[in-house]
């Protein structure tokens, strides 16, 4: 029964234009991340080769190849941004549609007038949402591998395959968070459009507002050439620094950077310090969903939105 509900979910999504449009955008951006990596690689190699030739003609030694120092997966660092923006949006749509389409069409009454348990329906919905996102990310994974082969002119190593798979696994967890936000909003708010707006509002807060209170305030101090332009020892910064552990988008960004080796690790503890809060929020959201599903009014009528 769980498989049936999950498969039904996938079938519905396959015919949903909004989902397909965002899916295409994500896959295009994946290809674009590869193209940007390939383009910057070519430009830098060209400049390096010209510089080396010029230095050689002057009898000077050439500096080392910059790409020899750059981890191959770091070409895909833009993917982190695309997942945070387009991936999270796609996840919200998938989560929203999983519940809202049943509620709006009045199909919940048809489903629960059959021998179907609430828990079965809920787990089936979650399985459908998870499968849909996994399929999307699997396609993106394949595109990323193709991009890497083109950029590096060789197959990735087993470690790189593994790291990329880990990156996509973390991305799946991150997207699941937003899918659950879409599910929760559709369960709590009855109007279909309003439920989507609420979920999008939460996405905006998590993606754009919360980081403003954490790292968004500090780079000014770190990048500005003037010594100590802002005194970060103030109480205000003490408080905002604690937000970092709840800033999901930043946790995801840091973890992704560590996996793709696109930025030097901030500390040795990169990994558990990001995974624990993300997992904790996922578990809390699933439990909240279970409570909401248990309280869902099964006799509600179709909305005419």
């Amino acid at each position: 029964m769980i498989t049936l509900i999950a498969a039904h979910q996938l079938r519905m999504l396959r015919r949903e234009r909004l989902f397909l449009a965002i899916l295409i955008a994500l896959l295009l951006m994946t290809a674009l991340a590869g193209f940007i990596g390939w383009s910057s690689h070519n430009t830098i190699v060209k400049v390096y080769e010209e510089s080396s030739a010029m230095l050689a003609s002057e009898g000077k030694p050439a500096p080392p190849d910059p790409f020899a120092l750059k981890p191959p997966l770091s070409f895909l660092s833009n993917m982190t941004i695309y997942i945070m923006l387009i991936g999270a949006l796609l996840a919200i749509i998938v989560g929203h549609l999983a519940i809202a389409s049943d509620r709006a069409s009045g199909s919940t009454r048809l489903i629960f007038a059959r021998p179907v348990r609430r828990s079965t329906w809920f787990i089936g919905k979650l399985a459908g949402v998870g499968s849909a996102l996994a399929i999307v990310l699997a396609a993106s994974y394949v595109l990323s591998i193709i991009s890497l082969v083109i950029v590096n002119d060789s197959l990735p190593t087993a470690e790189e395959f593994g790291r990329l798979a880990l990156f996509y696994l973390v991305s799946l967890s991150y997207m699941l968070l937003f899918a659950l936000v879409g599910v929760a909003a559709a369960l709590i708010v009855h109007g279909r459009s309003l439920a989507l707006l609420v979920a999008l509002g939460i996405w905006m807060i998590v993606t754009f507002m919360v980081p403003q209170f954490t790292s968004g305030l500090r780079p000014t101090a770190s990048l500005n050439p003037v010594v100590n332009p802002v005194d970060t020892s103030q109480r205000f910064f003490d408080v905002t620094s604690h937000f970092h552990s709840v800033s999901i988008s930043e946790l995801y960004r840091d973890l992704s950077a560590a996996i793709l080796q696109s930025a030097p690790a901030q500390s040795d503890s990169v990994g558990s310090s990001e995974i624990v809060p993300i997992s904790a929020i996922l578990i809390v959201l699933v439990l909240l969903m279970a409570v909401l599903v248990n309280r869902l009014d099964l006799s509600e009528q179709a909305s005419h939105e």
Binding site: S105, A113, V116, L298, Q301, A302
Partner: protein, 251 residues
């Protein structure tokens, strides 16, 4: 098919002291009602009388505030799965899944009902309801009448023992209403289904139902067979007059 056996000698539907309130506002008050197998029961009442609430309770979608409701002998609260194995339900204003075809919608609901070959059952039911020709069109492109037929198909494809129809004629034109009447008779006579129909179309009740009940402000003010009703109110020209008179008495 998949409908499980009912309890021996249990009536199709049984309500004992059933009451329900929404936010302390009573909608059903102490309803007592027994409907035997094979009946076509017309449940009459104005909008807001409590008809849909009664069906929601009988289909196990809503827990009653107090009292007891049984379908085929099974309690609607503690034996929900047994109840739902024995019933078919057509809600009012159901829209189904617009992105799926009629056959795909039925296949999904058939699988949920545990039908072994849902696609075959879907096509057979659509043939029975004379709407097989639009099985492969998306429901989103259907007219109201076509949609209603497919919605009826989802309610009967697993051959339930008791069929609940909530305002089934809503949005149908006169020919659609006539077709629906034929379908209800077909389900009752050929498939032996007990039918519980909420309606305010008195003309349809007179033509189709074997028994009627009248609900007024949450109270069951009348229940009897159509024959007895017309005998008892022989001075009245039509069922509409009878209905109005019963309501006046109740008021």
């Amino acid at each position: 098919m998949v409908a499980s056996g009912s309890r021996q000698a249990a009536p199709a539907i049984e309500l004992r002291g059933l009451s329900h309130s929404y936010n302390s506002h009573p909608v059903l008050r102490d309803i007592n009602l027994v409907i035997d197998h094979g009946e076509i029961f017309g449940f009459l009442g104005h909008n807001g009388a409590g008809k849909t609430t009664t069906i929601s309770i009988l289909t196990s979608l809503l827990r009653p505030t107090s009292g007891e409701a049984r379908v085929c002998g099974f309690d609607v609260v503690s034996e929900r799965l047994d109840v739902t194995r024995n019933i078919g339900y057509l809600p009012d204003s159901v829209r189904l899944y617009d992105h799926l075809t009629g056959a795909e919608n039925l296949e999904f609901f058939g699988k949920l009902s545990g039908i072994p070959k849902p696609l075959e059952a879907a096509r057979e039911t659509l043939r029975l309801l004379d709407c097989e020709s639009y099985a492969n069109q998306r429901v989103g492109s259907y007219s109201t009448g076509m949609r209603q037929r497919v919605a009826i198909a989802q309610a009967v494809m697993h051959r339930p023992k008791v069929l609940f129809l909530d305002e089934p004629t809503t949005g149908l034109d006169p020919s659609g209403v006539r077709q629906l009447r034929d379908i209800v008779k077909l389900m009752n006579e050929q498939l032996g289904m007990t039918i519980f129909m909420n309606t305010h179309l008195l003309s349809e009740v007179a033509r189709v139902c074997t028994t009627i009940g009248v609900l007024n402000q949450g109270e069951l003010i009348y229940k009897d067979t159509i024959e007895n009703t017309t005998m008892r109110f022989r001075d009245e020209a039509s069922l509409e007059e009878i209905y109005l008179r019963m309501e006046d008495r109740s008021a």
